[in-house]
């Protein structure tokens, strides 16, 4: 009986993995084909196997600089999001203060604003500040949805740490910054890792704002990809290769945080 259930579970998992991987396989498959191959016939494997699409990306500066720009944007965004979210999450998890519940929900509401709403105002705001087409502009714009999420997740992790730890440290004469950096932060390492992954993910894949706020110098890869739609039709093959390469950095990030996720977090909220 129990074995049957375990087998059923494995079967379900395998079915899901197949469902999850097939579109990705199709993309990888396309990335090794030529455009003619992709559009002319249906085939499980590339008929004329080629590295040309990847070569284009690695040799053409307008392609590979997209990856560099994306990484810079995401790094700035992650750094700011986590730095400002840490103390705020601590405040929410440890103290009650005037308007705390409202403030918390207000933060979440910013995660609910459709990016399309922000397009025009952002464009004007950053033009006025002279930040257009800089990495900082996109990184700042992405704070709208990443900071609330970072506060939310970190608060959950912090609430899981008993308050006695703080109190003992204060009695032992630790100052707040020293306690926070040397004792508290190591305790919520997993939370920081998981938060970093979520910030990375949402900033890495966002297109609408990134495309609006950049033109040449800071253009992230997602925006570069929209370029493949040109007069000569869609350059499917290069797009597929670029798509495959966009997964790589994220896969590395998830590889680093997998232990934190596997260790588990329940979110001490509610």
């Amino acid at each position: 009986m129990n074995e049957d259930r375990a087998r059923l579970r494995t079967l379900f998992l395998i079915a899901y993995i197949v469902f999850a991987l097939l579109p990705i396989y199709w993309m990888v498959n396309m990335s090794f084909k030529t455009n003619e191959d992709i559009l002319s016939s249906f085939s499980f494997f590339p008929q004329h196997f080629t590295w040309a699409n990847y070569r284009t990306i690695f040799t053409d500066a307008s392609w590979y600089s997209g990856y560099i720009n994306s990484l810079i944007i995401v790094a700035i965004n992650m750094a700011i999001s986590i730095t400002v979210a840490l103390p705020a999450a601590y405040a929410f998890s440890r103290y009650s203060f005037l308007g705390d519940k409202h403030l918390f929900f207000w933060l979440l509401t910013n995660r609910m604003t459709p990016p399309a709403v922000f397009l025009l105002p952002f464009f004007q705001l950053y033009s006025t500040l002279g930040l257009m087409d800089t990495h900082l502009a996109v990184a700042l714009a992405h704070l709208v949805f990443n900071v609330p999420l970072a506060v939310w997740i970190l608060e959950g992790f912090m609430s899981g740490i008993p308050r006695e730890i703080d109190e003992t440290a204060y009695i032992d004469g630790y100052s707040f910054p020293r306690f926070f950096l040397t004792i508290f932060l190591p305790l919520i390492k997993a939370g920081v890792g998981v938060t970093a992954f979520f910030c990375f993910m949402f900033s890495w894949v966002e297109l609408l704002l990134a495309r609006t706020l950049t033109s040449v110098d800071a253009k992230p890869i997602v925006a570069t990809m929209t370029r493949t739609v040109s007069a000569s039709g869609m350059d499917w093959a290069t797009l597929a290769a670029a798509g495959v390469l966009t997964i790589v950095p994220g896969a590395i990030v998830i590889w680093f945080v997998r232990h934190y996720i596997a260790k588990g977090f329940a979110m001490g909220r509610v």
């Binding site: 579970r9 379900f12 998992l13 469902f19 999850a20 097939l22 579109p23 990705i24 199709w26 993309m27 396309m30 002319s40 730095t83 979210a85 103390p87 705020a88 998890s93 103290y95 009650s96 203060f97 005037l98 705390d100 403030l103 929900f105 933060l107 979440l108 910013n110 995660r111 604003t113 459709p114 399309a116 709403v117 397009l119 105002p121 705001l125 709208v144 900071v147 506060v151 609430s159 894949v205 297109l207 609408l208 499917w236 597929a240 798509g243 966009t246 997964i247 994220g250 896969a251 998830i254 590889w255 997998r258 996720i261 596997a262 588990g264 977090f265 979110m267 001490g268 909220r269 509610v270």
Partner: protein, 297 residues
């Protein structure tokens, strides 16, 4: 937030201040601009007329908007109804430790890391009957499948794409929640002779509540704002079958360049999400509190 007594400390505001400044800079300022536009008719940069609530009234009467709103609600509810149970099931069947756990985690997370426009593009090919795997398979099985020609097919394809794209988010969060349950809980349940369902209902589900709340709210708001993927896949068509709210808004703002009505629309849109999330948030908090009380008895 935790209901246990927390010390009152108004100085905590200082810790929250950086976040407030950041978010105010990148959200409140732009939002004010939108409010400003929503009450004006901008004829040219120099000539603008205050029109009061006229745009709001005209947007509220817009039949196309009502249709898009219903389509959006149906879509978001379908997303939640499929992705949340599927994500929980997936989390329950993922291996707990060892290299298999690592491998499955990475594989499951892959679809989250693909830029949204690429997701749309991949599915565009993937669903084509002549050169795409999904389309070809369905065609072989005897379905006359075409996401560009048939409204129902297009809608289901967008939904399937969303399930493929975002179920991993729910699964990862639930998985993390499940892994935080100490083995002692399971041992105790085994001694009590609890059924699988009882273990799920009284141990696993309560422990997942925090992460599930994040998952449900995130999925709800993000699916309500979905834009890039259906735009790339179907462009809102065929007809209006997959024109969701964001799509419709962008058509209005960019296509017809109606800044005023588009701004009014944005605000109404935002308020709808806000209201629905508020209801969802409070409902989940209440359910959580009741569960906790029941547990203490």
């Amino acid at each position: 937030m935790s209901t246990t007594t927390k010390p009152v400390n108004q100085k905590a505001w200082w810790l929250v201040l950086p976040v407030v400044i950041c978010v105010a800079f990148s959200a409140v300022l732009p939002l004010m601009t939108v409010v400003n536009y929503s009450v004006q008719d901008i004829i040219s940069p120099e000539r603008r007329v205050f029109v009061g609530t006229e745009w709001f009234a005209s947007v509220m009467r817009d039949e196309d908007l009502h249709a898009a709103l219903w389509r959006q609600l149906t879509f978001s509810l379908a997303v939640l109804a499929i992705e949340i149970p599927l994500g929980i099931m997936l989390a329950l069947s993922m291996p707990a430790r060892g290299w298999k756990a690592s491998a499955v985690l990475v594989i499951v997370a892959l679809s989250l890391l693909i830029p949204w426009n690429v997701v749309g593009t991949i599915w565009q090919i993937y669903g084509r009957a002549d050169i795409g795997l999904l389309g070809a398979m369905l065609q072989k099985m005897g379905f006359d499948y075409s996401y560009t020609g048939n409204a129902t097919h297009a809608w289901i394809t967008v939904l399937t794409m969303d399930v493929w794209h975002w179920t991993p988010l729910v699964a990862l969060l639930c998985y993390a929640g499940l892994r935080s349950i100490p083995d002692a809980y399971y041992q105790a349940a085994r001694i009590d002779g609890a059924s699988k369902f009882a273990v799920f209902r009284y141990i696993q589900l309560p422990k997942m509540r925090g992460v599930l709340m994040i998952a449900v709210l995130l999925r709800f708001m993000d699916s309500f704002m979905i834009y890039t993927e259906p735009f790339v896949l179907t462009g809102g068509g065929p007809g209006n079958a997959t024109t969701f709210l964001s799509e419709y808004l962008t058509q209005k703002a960019v296509g017809q360049f109606d800044v005023g009505p588009a701004a009014a629309f944005s605000l109404i849109y935002f308020l709808i999400i806000l209201l629905l999330c508020f209801i969802l948030y409070n409902w989940m908090q209440r359910v959580g509190a009741q569960d906790k009380e029941a547990g203490h008895e």
